[in-house]
Amino acid sequence: MTSYQSQLGEGEGIAEELAESQRSISIAEFFEKNKHMLGFDSGARGLVTAVKEAVDNALDACEEASIAPDIYIEIQEVGDYYRLIVEDNGPGITKEQIPKIFGKLLYGSRFHAREQSRGQQGIGISAAVLYSQLTSGKPAKITSRTKGSETANYYELIIDTDTNEPEIDVEDTTTWERPHGTRIEMEMEANMRARSQLHDYVQHTAVVNPHARLELKEPTNHFKYERATDQLPAETEEIRPHPHGVELGTLIKMLDATDSYSVSGFMQEEFTRVGKKTSDSILDNFRDRHFGREMAWRPPQAHEDVDVARAVQQAVSNKGKDATADFADGVASVIDGREYVAHHEIGTIVDNHADRVEDEYGKTFGSTVRESAVEAAWQAVSDETESQLYGIVDEVTTKRKDDAAVQGLAERIASKFETRPEDHRQRVTYDDLTAYVEKSAADTKEYDDETFGETSREKIVDAIWSLMRTVPDDVPNVAEVAGDRDCASDLLTAMRETDIIAPPTDCLAPITDELVEEGLKKEFDADFYAASTRDAAVHGGDPFIVEAGIAYGGDIPADGKVEVMRFANRVPLVYQRGACATTDVVKSINWRNYGLDQPGGSGIPNGPGVVMVHVASTNVPFTSESKDAVANIPELESEIELAIREAARELKSFLNKRRSLQKRRKKQNKLATILPEMAEKLSEVTDREQLNIDDTMARIMNNVLVERQRENGTVKLVVENNTDTNADLEITDIVDADPGDVEEAQVVEMDGEWFVKWNPTVSGGDEATLEYSLDEDASCDVTVDGVEDEKLTINTES
């Protein structure tokens, strides 16, 4: 049978042949072939993505320099191509940086920073440049003027896809009317089919950036989005990584790069939320992982034959009778005083007493003597272990197990500790300990026919582990950890095991609920707005904040589904709606509970509404590099849901109130036709005069009734509260003659009219009378505030 190897060998040089065509690919080249990963998969989409990248950069630049952004976007038709121009009033870019920022992929200031920002990878704008040069062959034209400089720098450049380096066509200085800022001009193959996404993107950007002024000029349209606030987003602090948020590769890289020598210093220096105390806990956990723990046993009791003092005494020779006895008694009394004692603890005790006895008796206790004393004492302590393990096993296995089986298991575990000649200190890692127990349990099953279930086994392991002592050995230093992958992995596990407070949140700049509401008000003419901002939460070491806003009613189109606006770090997400965690959460909520129509009880609800969700994080988990959709992370989804529900609760009470007022209005309208008819018929049947039914109406509607009575130069306003709650009213009677001073009222004259104003509180079911004198010929007109129109009846005819 011919071997595969020899077959390969026959076609001599295949590997060499293959090798000839194998070469490294530049990142620029890679993205040239994988445009879709960056959101440039079609002409329609490419244009939107290019706008998005340019605007995101512009907003980031302005905010970093604390400048209220003023951004101008223009799209021109140029023959077969479109020309995109984006201008900002940011701080400008220095001459040296321009080519790199626009002409090199993966160049940026943000990739390594743990701070909330729109851009993160340094791909966006250069990818747009790459896309424009690939489709139109034209270079990108960049103008930038830094603050204070007389002239602006002008570049025309393309990206060399082989080397991922900028290739400068034109380099010049020019004049520009903006005092500072950046302008980029790109030509690309594109179309305007994605116009609505473009408009959505710009409008949504305006909603979450109420501090920015945006202008969009298209061949046929011109939109302006004015600023709603001068308040810039809070400046964010860059934070160091959180110990819970790093991965092994990152950790090793950090270990390689750090200046610290010790792991403790490294932890405190390079991570957020790690001080001395936290660092010590991490190191203890690291020790447990790396070295394992030492088993601790209960010292021999008085009734047992083993005697620690005698054992120690016998191990010491040539130190004189008194000194030896004193030493042995000292060590033994300390050990006897301990509940449990481990090997290294005996070492410390022996050292202490050896030092003491050396001082007192002038004898030298060398390391050999000390070691044999330790071993003798340890022998004595670890002599009888089965009964101790029996106690542990018996205690934690709640079900009544067969006594012989428990004994058998204890014996087997004990023997595992004893049969380790290579480590008489009985040092065991957690995993080894688990293996001991597993194996012992398996044997017990086989020989004693008693099963110890998974829970029992875990309990036994944990009980033993909690008795074991962390060893005092020095942990490896940074260089050692960095050089040993397993060791670094132990450190990472230790970091994750340790309870550490959540990362600080000043690295995040939420829009805040007030500004979310402002933003919605600015762009949607609705009847109702609500917003909520959650407290910061953490996912994988990155803090995040979720905000939600709801606008409802008014001019928002009522047909079709509620519009869901998604944002990540103030950037609107326009594509891949269906793949986004935000959309999933909106669909999963039972909106019927909140008064919206939701066919089938799930999915996007119907109605004239807008739901917006903003996720701010130092590292928003996206589903792909094109950053179109937020990934389905449980912690994140739960916060999104809570934020939406918070705002939706307000929506519910608004809708309920509106519905009850509608019902009331409907009832009022109906009764307003029935009752007059009734009154008219009654006058007819009884042959009596026409009836006034306003009082009856007010009573029926549980309304607040304000009735005017005029008599002999006195005006009485009778306020009757037929509701069951207090009414805090503001009643103003506007009269055209001077009423003089009026008790309990404010009188203000304006252009020959007197405004008599009361602020009475009338409790439910009560009546109040407001009285003043007025010339009988004077006319008056009353207005009442503080109660909804539907609940108010004014009767001033009589």
Partner: protein, 361 residues
């Protein structure tokens, strides 16, 4: 003042009450006794079942209540006019007439609504429907027997002998039997019969002449006029009244409405019910004794029997015993079942035996 004038006054007084409520800024309301089984009680003085103290209100507070009141006022207007013009109309005509009322909310949605409203007005105005000149659709039932009476008709007075002057069908009871004057009679007692078949059998067998009995045909659940004339025959002519129906729960209710008054018209019990009326049969015990052909009780029959056990009108030893027996045997029988013993069995044996036992003959 004539009855018509008085009825009209009382209706207008009712309207005036609503008027005053409006004028005083009150919410117009109409208070009625609650018309349910649980709110009827025995009036010891009058020996009939009347409404208890529980009341419910119709107010203009709700759209429904306001519509009801509007309808009531329109109906009052209509009835007052009808009385004024000495016309009369049927309940069904009232329902159709409302279609012509200009306000849509005043129109009746169905005839039950207009029937109920007329009953409401009877209660609050204390005027009977007959005095409003309202009559039911179907003609009243018939009677046959040795009775001579005078009826006020629109074409003048008619003197009629209810055996000699009538055909096989008997004398047609007018809608308002109070227009009748009893002139003379040879009757010994009054026998109310539920079904037409049994009535015809009794007449064919000459039971009315043989035993001097006035046979009143109830035609199922008896109309008011039938109940009224039965009461008058008892009260004015001092004749014992017995009721002969099928042996099922629905027929016991027919007896109940003759003897105790119906729940819906408990306000008129005093005027319509004949508390002294006795029950002939078919009794559940007859089913057992005569081994009659039977039908099994349906679920609805059982429910009806159980509900009768809770009905205050049926809480007597006799009825409790009979109903429990029926629930036990789970059978019911029609009057005609007696024909299984021969066509003459009912007239020759069953009725004479039972009536003797009851002390009627």
């Amino acid at each position: 003042m004539s009855t018509d004038e008085q009825a009209r006054e009382q209706l207008i007084d009712l309207a005036a009450e609503f008027y005053d409520q409006f004028a005083g800024g009150q919410i117009p309301r109409m208070t009625l006794p609650t018309r349910t089984k649980s709110n009827i009680e025995y009036d010891e003085d009058k020996n009939v079942w009347v409404y208890g103290d529980r009341t419910s209100s119709r107010t203009a507070n709700s759209v429904r209540g306001a519509q009801k009141l509007l309808k009531a006022i329109y109906t009052i207007d209509f009835l007052a006019q009808q009385l004024d013009e000495d016309r009369s109309s049927t309940l069904r005509e009232l329902y159709y007439l409302s279609e012509s009322w200009d306000h849509e909310d005043a129109q009746f949605k169905n005839q039950d609504e207009s029937n109920d409203l007329v009953e409401d007005l009877e209660i609050v105005s204390e005027v009977t429907r007959e005095d409003f000149h309202m009559r039911p659709e179907e003609s009243g039932a018939t009677l046959m027997g040795p009775l001579f009476l005078r009826e006020q008709t629109r074409r003048g007075e008619r003197d009629i002998h209810c055996q000699e002057d009538v055909g096989e069908g008997g004398y047609q009871i007018p809608n308002n039997p109070d227009t009748i004057e009893f002139l003379d009679n040879d009757a010994d007692f009054v026998l109310c019969v539920e079904t037409g078949g049994m009535r015809d059998r009794l007449v064919e067998n000459g039971f009315d002449t043989e035993y001097n009995v006035i046979i009143v045909h109830l035609k199922g659940q008896p109309a008011r006029a039938t109940r009224r004339i039965t009461k008058r025959l008892h009260d004015e002519l001092d004749l014992p009244v017995v009721v002969f129906t099928d042996g099922d729960p629905w027929s016991y209710r027919i007896y109940g409405s003759v003897a105790y008054g119906s729940i819906k018209s408990a306000h008129l019990s005093e005027y319509l019910a004949t508390p002294e009326a006795d029950y002939v049969g078919i009794r559940p015990e007859d089913i057992v004794e005569y081994d009659l052909p039977t039908d099994p009780l349906a679920d609805s029959d059982i429910n009806a029997l159980e509900s009768e056990l809770e009905d205050p009108r049926f809480q007597t030893d006799f009825w409790e015993e009979q109903i429990e027996l029926q629930l036990d045997i789970e059978k019911k029988a029609e009057q005609q079942a007696l024909a299984s013993r021969g066509l003459d069995f009912v007239t020759d044996t069953y009725l004479p035996e039972r009536l003797t036992e009851m002390g009627v003959i």
